[in-house]
């Protein structure tokens, strides 16, 4: 195939799309939300209709709703309304309804190409049949890409110009929606070449879109979230019991899942890994949009531990220079993964992280290998302080305040889980050290706060409480948020975006190769 042939195929794809009646109808439909964003302005405290003809404050709108007598003074009402707007028009209408309509509108591409009369003219040309097949796939992608570019760019400009809301991250949606459509369009292509029927192609593809998206992918995410939450809940419960027990250890639970449940979960895993991760496209948009937003000050993807933001005059510094507050205590603290300094109070914050250790101990009548707990590690540090620094037991303050109890809320409940912690506080060399140990899943953390010993107690307490209020383990009860947080470019394989995209593209490539193989065998 030479360059002229490639250009001809592209030209044909574009002309085929532009002449498509459904495409034209969809272009008109996407103009509706764009028009909406130009006629209605979502300002910080009010909604402005028709360039100032009518103005409604968010409070007055909420007051007419049942139970809506709520003040929006402390809320980002503008952000919330626009998020809801984009969720409806971009995520739902674009992501679900838009893809369905695009499936219906493009399903005829292949059956029409291979019907008698059309096929003879096209397939006698000196081009491999597979490239002609691919050109129809490309036409489908052009179809959805043009539509989404118009919709997303229009909405972005409308929000920017009329509402003064600049969210360039929304522009990623045109790429992710095209990617999503590409994953299902390949099924439409394969069914089209197998059955030569547009109706069959539409029905099977819609069935696949919903079956794969709603049952396999959403089912797998739900399973993962339930298991993850159960794991965290169990871990928190064990930490609490361990903190309350005399020696700081508890027995681990045994796996009691049945055979059938095991088979079901393995089948679900297999299907999830084979089929395209269509639901990831929406999360991918969220992640890509996040690239334009300010994230948390610190987060540990494995344990879900985060520091929301730096308070007071804290400023991030290089963590690598940090040393444990007690010499030769690296084993207790692990690696310094985050550090910040506050020159105002001459204080510092260091987050230490490592894998949870397992310890061989005599427990419940026999020798066992059990994971360390906040209490055991806190007590270990207290003992170390006595041994190495010669501190009296009375000079070491021990506290069991849980981590993440400051009450910050999100859509579905508290932002942080209440995780058992062990605080060890002591003074040495004119500095006051406050170390809070806690563990989640297989990770173990220490929040180290260091201030001058002579600092005003009230000031120190406020400073410490404000920092600890920003620290905690995420309580991810919202499925969407939970899964988005798991996904990442460097996450473990099952949550890894490279794997998600790679395996989905491999599926699409497999479908196209199968379609190409079938097309090659057809006698026209």
């Amino acid at each position: 195939m030479n360059a002229a042939m490639a250009r001809a195929l592209m030209m044909d794809a574009v002309f085929q799309v532009l002449d498509n009646r459904v495409f034209r109808v969809l272009v008109i439909l996407v103009l509706i939300p764009i028009l909406f964003t130009f006629l209605i302005g979502f300002r910080e405290s009010e909604i402005v209709f028709l360039f100032g003809l009518e103005r409604w404050s968010y409070d007055s709108i909420l007051s007419i709703l049942p139970g809506g007598n709520v003040s929006t003074q402390d809320m980002d009402a503008q952000g919330m309304v626009i998020s809801a707007f984009t969720a409806i028009f971009v995520d739902f209408l674009g992501g679900d309804l838009g893809v369905m309509l695009a499936i219906a509108a493009t399903a005829f591409f292949v059956p029409q190409m291979i019907e008698k009369g059309s096929a003879d003219v096209l397939f006698h040309k000196p081009i491999h049949r597979f490239f002609l097949f691919l050109s129809r796939y490309f036409a489908g992608l052009v179809f959805i890409f043009l539509l989404t570019v118009v919709a997303v760019t229009g909405i972005y400009l409308g929000l920017l110009i009329v509402s003064g809301y600049n969210d360039p991250g929304i522009l990623w949606a045109s790429l992710t929606l095209t990617y999503l459509f590409g994953l299902v369009h390949c099924v439409s292509m394969l069914v089209g070449v197998m059955t030569r029927s547009t109706v069959a192609s539409i029905l099977v593809t819609l069935l696949f879109f919903f079956g794969n998206g709603c049952l396999i992918q959403q089912g797998w995410i739900l399973k993962e979230q339930v298991m993850s939450q159960q794991e965290i809940a169990d871990a928190v419960e064990r930490e609490t019991r361990a903190n309350e027990s005399e020696d700081g250890f508890v027995l681990e639970d045994e796996d009691e899942s049945g055979v059938f449940l095991g088979i079901f979960l393995r089948t679900l895993n297999t299907l999830h890994f084979i089929f395209p991760k269509t639901t990831d496209a929406g999360h991918l948009t969220s992640l890509l949009r996040g690239a334009f937003e300010k994230g948390n000050a610190y987060e540990d993807a494995e344990s879900d531990f985060i520091v929301l933001k730096l308070t007071g005059e804290l400023e991030e510094v290089d963590a690598e220079d940090s040393v444990p507050p007690v010499g030769s205590a690296e084993e207790l603290f692990g690696e310094p993964t985050y550090a910040a300094r506050d020159d105002g109070v001459d204080g510092r914050l260091v987050i230490w992280s490592r894998a949870r250790r397992r310890m061989t101990v005599e427990f419940a009548g026999k020798e066992r290998e059990l994971p360390e707990r906040a209490k055991t590690t806190g007590d270990e540090l207290a003992q170390l302080l006595q041994d190495l620094l010669g501190l009296d037991e009375d000079a070491i303050e021990i506290d069991d305040d849980p981590i993440g109890t400051h009450g910050k809320m999100q859509n579905m409940g508290p932002l942080f889980l209440t995780v058992a912690g062990r605080h060890v506080i002591w003074e040495e060399g004119g500095r006051r050290h406050h170390v809070a140990f806690f563990g989640t899943k297989e990770r173990f953390h220490a929040i180290e706060l260091e201030t001058p010993a002579e600092l005003d107690e009230i000031l120190r307490e406020t400073w410490t409480d404000e920092i600890l209020a920003e620290c905690g383990v995420l309580n991810e009860t919202s499925q969407g948020d939970w899964y988005t947080n798991q996904l990442g470019w460097d996450s473990e394989l099952k949550y890894n975006l490279f794997f998600s995209i790679g395996s989905s593209i491999a599926f699409a490539a497999g479908m196209l190769l199968l379609g190409g193989w079938r097309l090659k065998r057809i006698d026209f």
């Binding site: 002229a4 002309f15 085929q16 009369g117 003219v121 006698h124 081009i127 006698d523 026209f524």
Partner: protein, 313 residues
């Protein structure tokens, strides 16, 4: 014969045959040992009743039908080879062009798919559009074309990239008499330029007028092959166009056997020596002789005769 462009030997094609059932001989045998050769610059006619295997043969040569057994080459390359297809133009029977394109866009698309650059095509396009009588309608969408217009633009797409070999399957289908004359003219020009034309048509008069050689196929086999002269031999009868027609024509000549008469003349089975005697008789009666023609079989008569004999009728 000049350079061989198409070479087919002992070609067989069975549709609907599954590999496991091959030994049972199942499936429909569309071609049964077909052999033929077509030389460069000739106009070759492929005739036969419906289902004879004509279109299958063309599609095998173009790579549209695969899995045939035997030898089939175009330009010395295996049938369906892209290098050979680049040098070929094809107007299929009952073709369907993309309705979302204009006539001009169709020519650009298919020309480029044959490997020609857009600029190269744009230089030659006005001449081709003019030649097929579509210059005024070139910027209208295909969906707005009549059947005849689609056939004309279809012919242009088969020729726009200036192929060396052209397959025309029912090229005059849906075309009015004036248009048919234009197509005959185009085929004559192609022949003059050394282009090989392979025609499959049911309009035998057209084939007789255009083709150098014809092949008659039936039930997947070639049952007759030859030049037009060989396919339309003299019958031994002679037609005399006269004025007036004598009332006692039956008494003057023996009209039994092949003899026929109409209001313009009559036909007699005579040898060359007897023609003078007939002329003398007519002149003696003062009858004007307006024409004397040795009677040949038309291609249509020859075709029907051959096919009937093949079927034992």
């Amino acid at each position: 014969m000049s350079e061989t462009i198409i070479s087919v030997r002992d070609l067989n094609k069975v549709y609907g045959q599954r590999r496991l059932l091959k030994f049972l001989g199942q499936g429909f045998r569309a071609l049964k040992g077909v052999s033929l050769e077509v030389g460069r610059g000739s106009v070759f006619g492929l005739l036969g009743p419906n289902g004879a295997g004509k279109t299958t043969l063309i599609k095998i040569l173009l790579g549209l039908v695969r899995g045939a057994e035997g030898h089939a080459q175009v330009f010395g390359l295996s049938a369906g080879d892209p290098r050979a297809r680049r040098r070929v133009g094809y107007l299929p029977e009952a073709h369907r062009l993309p309705t979302y394109l204009t006539g001009r866009q169709v020519l650009t698309l298919y020309g480029m798919l044959s490997g020609r650059e857009k600029s190269w095509l744009e230089e030659r396009m006005p001449a081709w559009l003019d030649r097929v009588g579509m210059a005024d309608s070139a910027d209208r969408k295909i969906r707005e074309y009549s059947k005849g217009m689609q056939q004309r633009i279809g012919l242009a797409q088969a020729l726009i990239h200036e192929p060396e070999l052209v397959f025309l399957d029912e090229p005059t289908d849906g075309i009015d008499p004036k248009g048919r004359a234009v197509i005959r003219g185009i085929i004559a020009e192609l022949k003059d330029r050394g282009v090989t034309v392979f025609i499959n048509s049911h309009l035998l008069m057209e084939v007789e007028m255009i083709c150098d050689r014809v092949v008659i196929m039936d039930q997947g086999r070639i049952i007759r092959e030859g030049t037009i002269d060989e396919m339309t031999p003299k019958t031994g009868a002679v037609r005399f166009d006269v004025n007036p027609i004598p009332d006692d024509l039956g008494q003057m000549f023996d009209l039994s056997g092949t003899g026929e008469s109409d209001d313009k003349g009559f036909e007699l089975t005579v040898n060359d020596g007897e023609i003078d005697a007939v002329i003398d008789k007519l002149r003696a009666r003062g009858i004007s002789i307006q024409g004397i023609y040795p009677r040949k079989l038309t291609l249509e008569e020859s075709f029907i005769d051959v096919v009937k004999r093949e079927h034992g009728e």
